[in-house]
Symmetry: C2
Subunit: 158 residues, 2 copies
């Protein structure tokens, strides 16, 4: 029994303190998720400075269920994958990744921002967090009016 | 024994004659497949008449393996999903589906066109085939120079 307890303590010490960590995790494997929709934001658009380029939205299985139900369960994750859009020869092609934006549902952990954790990873680099503690001003201020859609702008299409 | 043979004959009669059918099947469930990449083709581009709009490429698991290997196994399917691109307020948004283009790998069945069957479904309607027997002129003429990439134009990106 003593040995078992000692082993358990060692394991417990080695575990990250996930429950006390408010950070939104990097969305591992999101490129394999469901492609919801895409859009191009061009110069002159009010969101160009923040979101200029071509973006794709990806949803994990829980988020796909959430779109269908009209409210999202804990564990739902939506990714806003923003790439440069390069215009050449009357075509727009995808360039470098600008940011991986994330909405991560955890109703109790992120209660202050509608139950969603918000984060952005500059260039898709999981170490370059651009939102951090600023989610209320940097993200939720714009998402709050979408309350009837559980704070989400996008919707499924065929 | 007689009864078994009789039963077999009935089953055989009820089966579609898949082996003798050159038609490329509609790619059921392709919206759940891997999103490879996207592009916008605008007015003035030489392919605008055929492919103007925003298109997304989707690959089934065999096609994803094919992209990685540089050659595609039988059963690999790539979908070219073309939607209207609507410009408004300095943004491009997705509109109605124009065509679901398909490349379906079956090296022996489609030997005349590089081992790929080509089809297009107008408006995404599985009954509206726009290529049919015309794959050599309508599709393969442009794909043939891509022989070193197994006749595929697109490539995986991050």
């Amino acid at each position: 029994m003593k040995r078992t307890l000692a082993a358990f303590s060692l394991i417990a010490l080695a575990l990250p303190v996930a429950a006390a960590d408010p950070a939104v995790p990097y969305p591992e494997g999101y490129r394999d998720w469901y492609h919801v929709k895409s859009m191009v934001i061009e110069e002159g658009h009010p969101l160009f400075a923040a979101f200029g380029g071509i973006h794709h939205l990806y949803a994990n299985a829980a988020a796909v269920a959430g779109y269908k139900a009209g409210s999202f369960p804990d564990g739902a994750v939506i990714v806003f994958d923003l790439l440069e859009a390069t215009r050449s020869g009357n075509a727009l092609t995808e360039g470098a990744r600008k940011v991986v934006g994330v909405m991560h549902r955890d109703a109790s952990k992120f209660a202050a921002t509608g139950g969603w954790g918000f984060e952005g990873f500059a260039g898709g680099d999981r170490t370059q967090r651009v939102v951090g503690d600023d989610a209320v001003d940097a993200c939720f201020a714009c998402h709050a009016p979408q309350k009837d859609q559980d704070y989400v702008f996008s919707a499924l299409r065929d």
